[in-house]
Point group: C2
Chain length 221, copies 2
C-alpha cells in the first residue's frame, strides 16, 4: 500500500501504480524488486541533470559541468532527497534488512530515489521524469554558484578558514568497514578553532573527507 | 557547409542546422565547439542505451545491463559508428589537428558522434535523440546474445580457444604513451596456433587487452 502522500510529494500520479510499488521494493523483500528500475533511473537522472546544467550555465565547460553533476548525483545528495520525501517509511524491505535499520541506510534510500525516477520514466516518458528531477533538485540547482561550488568541498573549506586566518581542518580516519573490494571509510573533519566536528562516509578515504568537509561548510553558512 | 549526405545518414533533418555545425566543430577549430554538446550527448546516449537494454532484455540484472552498456558506449564502438557515417570528412578541425590526422583519430570521432546525439536532443527532444541512438546502434543491439556477450572479450576468447583445445592467447605490451595521469597502452593479442595477431589500445593495460581480444574474436567469427 503506497501512501498517497508520496505521490503528492513527488508531484506525479502514476498511471501504473505497480511501477512505484516496484521502485519501493528492496531486493531483500521480494521480486520484482527495484534494481532494474534503479539502473534506468540512474541514467535518466544523469541525463536530466546534465541538460539542466547545460541550460542554466552557458559559460561552463564540459569539465565544470561534469564536476557539478558528480556532486548532484552522488549518494549523499540522493540520501537527503530521500529524507525530504520521508522515503524510509515507504520502503518494502526483507526482515533482516528491517531489523538492521535498512530503511535508514543511505545506499538503500538513494537507490530507491533513482528507482522512482526510472519508474516515472517508464510510466510517462523522459520529459515527465526530467521534470521530477527538476522538482527534487530545485533547491540544489538554485544553490549552485558557478565558480564557487566547482571547487571541491575540502578546497572551499580550506579557503574559508584561510580567509579568516584560522588553522586548517584536520581529517581523522574513524574506522573502515566492509571487505577489501567494497570498503567504507568514516572520517571526521575537525576545526578546533570553531569547535566544529563533522563526519563523512564514502567508499574511499578521499570521498569520506569531502563529505565531512561539505557538512562542515553547511554548518558554517 | 554540412553535407546533406550526413543528415540523411543520421535520419534527422535539423530545424537548427547550426547545432549540427557546432557538433562537428572541434575545439581546435573555433568557438562554439562541440565539447558542451558532447557532455549532453554522452548522457543522452547512456540513457537511451539503458532504456533499450531494459526493454529488450527483461531477464538481465542491473549488473549485466551495466556491462552490456559499457561495451556499447565505449570509444571503440563510437569510433566504428563514426566511420560508418564517414564522419571524418565532415569535421571542422584546427590546422594542427588537420595536419596530424585528427579527422581519423578515434577519440575525436567518438566525441563528435556524442556531440551529434546531444545536438539532436536540443533540436528535437529526448525521443528524437533516443531514436537516433536506436538507428546508430541497430546492428550492435541486434547482435547482443545475452549470456554470451555479457562475458568480457578476454573470457570469451579464452573459452573459444579452450573449446578447440588450442593454446591460450598471449598479451604483449607494445608501448605506452602519454603522461602518468593519462597514459595510453597498446597491446597485442597473439594466438600462434591460428596465426592471429590483433592490437588494442586503451587507458589501462586491461582495457587495451580487452579491445585486442574483441578484435581477435571478430576475426574468428
Amino acid at each position: 500500500m503506497i501512501p498517497g502522500r508520496l505521490e503528492k510529494a513527488l508531484g506525479h500520479a502514476f498511471a501504473d501504480p505497480g511501477l512505484l510499488q516496484t521502485a519501493l521494493t528492496h531486493r531483500s523483500h521480494s521480486a520484482p524488486h527495484n534494481e532494474r528500475l534503479e539502473f534506468i533511473g540512474d541514467s535518466v537522472l544523469n541525463c536530466a541533470v546534465a541538460l539542466e546544467l547545460y541550460r542554466r550555465f552557458p559559460a561552463l565547460t564540459e569539465g565544470e559541468m561534469s564536476r557539478l553533476r558528480a556532486n548532484l548525483v552522488r549518494q549523499d545528495t540522493l540520501h537527503r532527497i530521500a529524507e525530504s520525501l520521508a522515503l524510509g517509511d515507504c520502503l518494502r524491505l526483507g526482515e533482516g534488512e528491517l531489523k538492521s535499520g535498512g530503511h535508514r541506510r543511505p545506499s538503500i534510500l538513494a537507490d530507491a530515489v533513482e528507482a522512482i525516477i526510472g519508474a516515472v520514466h517508464l510510466d510517462a516518458g523522459f520529459d515527465a521524469a526530467a521534470a521530477l528531477v527538476g522538482r527534487l533538485y530545485a533547491a540544489h540547482l538554485a544553490g549552485i554558484v558557478p565558480g564557487q561550488q566547482i571547487k571541491d568541498p575540502k578546497t572551499r573549506l580550506q579557503e574559508f578558514l584561510q580567509g579568516r586566518r584560522l588553522a586548517l581542518p584536520q581529517y581523522v580516519l574513524l574506522d573502515t568497514s566492509g571487505e577489501a573490494h567494497a570498503q567504507n571509510f568514516r572520517v571526521a573533519c575537525e576545526v578546533p578553532a570553531l569547535r566544529l566536528k563533522t563526519e563523512g562516509v564514502g567508499q574511499s578515504r578521499r570521498a569520506a573527507e569531502q563529505m565531512a568537509a561539505e557538512r562542515a561548510l553547511e554548518k558554517l553558512k
